[in-house]
Symmetry: C2
Subunit: 315 residues, 2 copies
Amino acid sequence: MSAIPVFDDVLAAAARIAAHAQVTPVRRSRSLDALAGCELYFKCENLQRAGAFKFRGACNAVWSLDDETAARGVLTHSSGNHGAALALAAKTRGIPAHVVVPEGAVRSKMAAIEAFGATLHVCAPTFAAREATAERLRQETGARLVHPYHDPAVIAGQGTAAMELLKEIGELDIVMTPVGGGGLISGTAIATRGLAPNARVIGAEPSGAPDAWESLRDGERPTEMTANTICDGLRGIIGAMNFDLMRQYGVEVLLADDDEIRRAMRLMWERLKLLVEPSSATVLAAVLRNPDRFAGRRVGLVLSGGNVDLDDLPL
Amino acid sequence: MSAIPVFDDVLAAAARIAAHAQVTPVRRSRSLDALAGCELYFKCENLQRAGAFKFRGACNAVWSLDDETAARGVLTHSSGNHGAALALAAKTRGIPAHVVVPEGAVRSKMAAIEAFGATLHVCAPTFAAREATAERLRQETGARLVHPYHDPAVIAGQGTAAMELLKEIGELDIVMTPVGGGGLISGTAIATRGLAPNARVIGAEPSGAPDAWESLRDGERPTEMTANTICDGLRGIIGAMNFDLMRQYGVEVLLADDDEIRRAMRLMWERLKLLVEPSSATVLAAVLRNPDRFAGRRVGLVLSGGNVDLDDLPL
């Protein structure tokens, strides 16, 4: 594993996780193509194990550890999907997992973490509390911290989704993913450069958490942000390594506001019959907001996850 | 086309609809297998065109007509999915479609019918009004009535879903479908006998609309029924031809009540990340209600559709 992940690391990740991760399907919709005026290829990471692309990076990180390190377990603080993914990844290797989650995290995600056999540690909903709790656990258990996105093994693992998409569909004009901390978009940029160097890589970010968009505009990362968006998976600040990779690979970011994201999510439920969480809908929302940018193009969209809290629905 | 459909008619239907219908995917879930104690293979007809298996039968019926008959168009009365399916099937052949729908039908289904270019005729929500409106339209337009289930071409078309499932998965111990008017279950029985003669065929029916279950118990069809179930696609009375085929092929029916169906639907949303309508969840509900019947078996479940009215959800 390089300090900064490169294409060979994505290839190695794909081999490492092959026995554990799903090769997720690519879905299409005639009516969404007509609505968007382009060809849309939806890579269904909501159908990935633990319900999100996060399992790819977590699984690569867990299986990259030497046996002695692995035996002490792994540890993370996560708003949800990465926590569940790391819990399941640890289970595939038979090692302990500790997950620090803020009070108020989505219930279905916390239940999933416990169902995968990890130990849940609930802390106050501040970044400082999460860091402090994680550090205490690290000292107590010797577990290895696996950061949700600022980690080369995680980034390389996330890149395997775009790799599968490009191998299945062939050349695409544009590959898009949601942008939160930047693990998925930076891994996607690396994979796409290796397999389809002429394709553009575009991230989609909620207007209510526009840190990556602002970082590219300003040339530097913010140190703090008050996120205000329904996309619970995209409220983190872009990571340093991730930001560097986005600039190195010429990634662009487009914004979409929550109303647009909600409408796109509804369209995806209705037309694709797929349960996707709001974060997943940022990509379609950004396409529909910028029709001229996408007209007639072949566009791959990595759907990040499907972990909707069904307690909020009248089922 | 035989008067009573046989296996060769299912084979012919598969060839006839191949250019128009989707080969839908088969999905699995480790956690649902663990919960049910058996191997579940979900045939995703919610991903069929127009969102339900109904497109198979409608498409076979439309493309079975000679050119002169077809040119006068097709006509049906339907609570929703068959209407949309027939509208889309007519569109694939470039012929008119007339759809009689009762007041109060699911909004998203009516919108789909119109979006496919059919003419919608809303009538009072009684069976008599639907029949009378359809008959008047038939006389006015010369359109061919395509019944939702009491039609050999429709039955043969519906059988192609189980045919694909068995061809993809190989031998199954049990094949299940929801039971409404009986088009899907009788077509499935014919296809299964032809491809996997040792497999049992089991229908799942809501306890609040138990006409097929009661018909098999009593040896005769009821003439009327007051349906009380959330499964809007399963409120019709079992057709005469369909009932005969169910008896001829030894089909069994299991019941599930609405609470069990609702719970099964929620599990499918959560674990499969698939939007399915309540009717689709009857099959899993029946499995979970009768664990001893299914323990250790390989069970194929045809999911009927995914046309949920999203206006009812807080999206």
